[in-house]
Subunit: 257 residues, 2 copies
DNA sequence: CGGCGTATTGACCACCCTCAACTGACGTGG
DNA sequence: CCACGTCAGTTGAGGGTGGTCAATACGCCG
């Protein structure tokens, strides 16, 4: 198989599909941060033609655990949760994907984890064989994937500390902090942004509990405690405002150094 | 910087260092599984000259969290634990490295995790700049690293289920199962081997507790329960024998499918 | 308004933590 | 040779955090 990508066709000769505007890499909001940001602008039109957009409603399944998945995707908008379920129904959220993150397990047909839309989600999908061939030809893209994956290992291990050693209060505080960091104003997903102090939680109480290894009632109680302590404000079910970021970090058990 | 690797010098012309035998890639027991297994045999002598072996006793620190680490290494023998510590002393083991695993965080000076020898450890070290340059030149090696890192993400996420959702008994059973899988007879570290039913735990009770998010007393009690249930035998502190592997898997909450 | 799903609050309790004492192996030194 | 200290592991008693079950409140929509 040979992926043709170099022969950048001239401008304004793109195929006459009506959806091309919605798929255009040129105006893609996450390209600079996604894997495809490693490609040169001339390569985009061809990539564009192989990409296909998919939409999911909140709660919809994107991929089942252990199932064969014949495409991979970049998250364009929304939040995707990766889950692991035991046979008796106990479930753990093992990761969250934000815009620009890659969904899918390269070089392996089936992932042991399920993927589910936590909010409405837009994906930009590529067929698996095409995607993997692209990786082999574009070493810059492969390098980006490697860096991303290394960061994900670090993040997963960091979360192991949360799950294994923190109290319920620290867990909830850690989650709020994580959300405040990743839900940057417009550039959702960037980790380096300054934390935002007012946002909608992309997860229900049940999902928060599944991410923190707690029960839903415990989440409610701890959020209540944080509210009466003046650390946060909760307005309705999902709207949340951080009143005292320093205190929140302290409660999350963040290292001083 | 240009890493010279291709010019394979002829046989029997190797430099007259007295330690070369102990460093020889030719007789290295983990090469086929380690990153350097992606290199052609002709490339080994030069790699050999840049590699340096280090030894650690059990309990010795290899790298401190947040500290700059100017080399990376392949684990030749022994078990390395990766730890994350909170300012009040609570500690979580976030990963274990077995022979052939890579120690260190490529493309980033400092890792947020500490590395400590759980058993006596032998490392095969390369300077960071040399290692990273090698990765750029040898795409096969880079690809191996990518696959390895993807597997590590999966393993870390799998462990998040253990930490977040399993009971103490299931946690201990899961750990024994993990050890039985990774401590293969001679090829320590290979994940695909059939589980071995008799081995020495590479971790103390305290370390097991730190890996499972439990207390040392709970470990003792759960091991006791597994022993009276006839699932395992404990002979002295660390020697352990699995009497009923099926029951152990069941207790670990392993999915049937 | 009534029905439904999600979130909150309360009462009770179990699992695991905490603290403490004890055992056994090992090494040192009188 | 045994006394002694140390360290890792075991065992026991009691308590606290978070789980469980149930009732209630709230938001959404027909």
């Amino acid at each position: 198989m040979r992926v043709e990508l170099q022969g950048g066709e001239g401008p304004s000769t793109r195929p006459a599909d009506r959806m091309s505007k919605r798929l255009s890499c040129a105006i893609c909001g996450v390209r600079d941060r996604a894997l495809c940001g490693a490609l040169a602008p001339e390569q985009l039109p061809r990539l564009n033609r192989r990409a296909c957009q998919r939409h999911y409603q909140a709660g919809q399944f994107i991929a089942a655990a252990g199932q064969r998945q014949d495409w991979l995707a970049t998250v364009l908008s929304g939040v995707v949760k990766l889950t692991r379920t035991m046979c008796d129904g106990r479930q753990q959220i093992v990761g969250l994907l934000f815009p620009s993150d890659l969904l899918g397990r390269p070089f392996s047909d089936a992932s042991p984890f399920g993927a589910e839309a936590a909010t409405p989600v837009e994906l930009c999908c590529l067929e698996r064989p095409y995607f993997e061939e692209l990786l082999h030809q574009e070493s810059g893209m492969k390098h980006r994937l490697l860096e991303r994956t290394l960061n994900e290992v670090d993040a997963a291990r960091e979360w192991m500390l949360v799950l294994g050693r923190k109290t319920a209060e620290e867990k909830v505080a850690s989650l709020i902090l994580l959300m405040a960091q990743r839900l940057g104003s417009r550039n959702n997903g960037a980790a380096t942004e300054r934390p935002v102090s007012r946002f909608d939680l992309p997860l229900s109480r049940t999902e928060i509990a599944e991410y923190l290894g707690l029960r839903i009632e415990t989440i409610s109680r701890q959020l209540g405690r944080l509210r009466v302590a003046g650390v946060i404000d909760t307005e309705g079910g999902r709207r949340l405002a951080v009143r005292d970021m320093g205190k929140l970090e302290q409660l999350a058990g963040k290292e001083p150094v």
